[in-house]
Amino acid sequence: MGKIVEIEGVNKIYGTNHVVRDLNLSVEEGEFLTLLGSSGCGKTTTLRMIAGFEEPTTGSIKVEGEPIEEKEPFERNVNTVFQTYALFPHKTIFDNIAYGLRMKKVPKDEIKKRVLEMMEMVQLSGFEKRYPSQLSGGQKQRVAIARALINRPRVLLLDEPLGALDLKLRKQMQLELKRLQKKLNITFIYVTHDQEEALTMSDRIAVMHDGVLDQLATPTDIYEHPKTKFVATFIGETNTYDGCITGISEGIATVTLENGAVKVKCDDTFQILEYATISVRPEKMKFDTAPREGFELIAMVKDYVYVGSVLKCIVTLPNGNELKIERLAGQELPKIGSIIYPYWNPEDAVLIHNESYKIFKALDDIKLA
């Protein structure tokens, strides 16, 4: 396994709009990498730069170790699955899938063999003579994937390919895509804004925010150890608290919030008096009817929301902020209007640096100098 795509110091600027900032990213051969972020975060632009539809303003992109700036899209050994599928409406399904092979002047017999094989793989046998307008959304999607995969690209780029499908079909296609990727052992770079989709399918996730790569890690790492507040809030549900670190002992920091002090695990990158953010997942939140040692939070139960397998309890802190606490349905919960004392296991909470970290680091550098 080597690096198949290397993006080094890439910036993309449209007029005054800085869409991608100093992006460094390398993609391992055979992995399923997801670019995740809300719309306008630069993920699609990044994908389009790899495909060759856009040129980076600065920086370089290498595929298989070769710089590809000089190569036109039709010379690149990558293929794209478009968000809108972009099937040729005037060509049959067979001709759509055969398009790439015809451009490469593959012998006719082989084209036929490979197209039929590919159609079987995406479960579309028998649709050869139909036109794209006669297919459903899910079928079109599969044609688009087959049309790209048949060229045996080293890297397949997918731009929100499941965005237009309904929930059930989307879930089914997610698994199917993952299966295809494992079977063919092709590197997938997948763009989506759906964090659940990213968690389900990816080997690694690159979370982008305002053109900046916030974190690149495995789904578990992203979920359990978010590096920025954005990542913590974007991936899954979480409760965040901004506060100041007022004490550190034996790897446990005491953080003073507006509503009182709490305890959280920290590493040695944190310092006393630094401002930081705590993220606690709703399912890790606990509560008691009496105050716990180290936690000064107090809250009033405001509402319950039933979401199938779990029950969400919404509680209000004295300053008006709301917290979410999740419990499996059927577990006993306090009444609405009652007072509870929220707490958590210090290991279950994540402490995240925010802007003040940079100031402290700069101060450190000055001291060292």
Partner: protein, 292 residues
Amino acid sequence: MKKKRSKHEFRANTLPAMVTVGPMVLLLIFLVVAPLIFVAVMSFCQTDQYYNVVYKFTAENYSKLISPDYLKIYGQSILIALLTTIVCIIIGYPFAYIIARCKSKKKKLLYMLVIVPFWTNSLIRIYGWRTFLGSNGWLNSVLQNLHIIKEPVDFLYKTGTTVLGMVYCLIPFMILPLYTAIEKLDGSLLEASSDLGAKPYKTFLEVIIPLTSGGIFSGSIMVFIPCLGYFFVSNILGGGNTDMIGNLIERQFKSANNWPLGAALSIILIVVTLILVKIYQKLGGDMEDLGV
């Protein structure tokens, strides 16, 4: 219930329809339907020795029209119309493509370049060409002053000159439908084609041309048909060497004074037009693209 009935009453009341659509229908009957019937009737009439129209049935006018002299002119008309259409496609397509793919500011300017001449009287514009191309015209003087030619070149009164004038007059009819078709073209299809390894010329042949063929086709119809009838272009620039069906019709009415024969020619032109439109429709063409 009561409300529903009153709604029906309103529908049964034809007054609003009569007031709004009625005048238009009358106008069409007087200005389009009646004259057409008149022309059709006249095409079966005879003339006396002084070329006055005599309302007596004959099919002679039509049998006259299949004489070799006339057939030659039909052939010539079709040749010129065909050449005009082809030249319009060759010039119009890249131009329409550029307009359709331009940024909005430039797009408006280019669009106006097509539309503004279209608003100017074409007769005046064609006379302009004659002055420009004539043996004492600008082009000859410029070329002579630059010592590229010694004697004035005879540009006028050739098939090419007529085709030039026709193209000049009719090219907006080609560019506008092409522009519409190209504008509708989904850019991601071009990206997909390139992504799948197609070089630009392949993308053009495999994706762009087939998907804009509707525009090419309706543009061709809208150039070809008027071309058969634009007699003034071949009159002014062809000088009688490049007569078309339109010239024949004009001559029957104006100089030969044989109205029934002219009427028969007109009917033939109308029938040819209808047949072409019908073929267009049969091939799946969009009538709206023709402005019908």
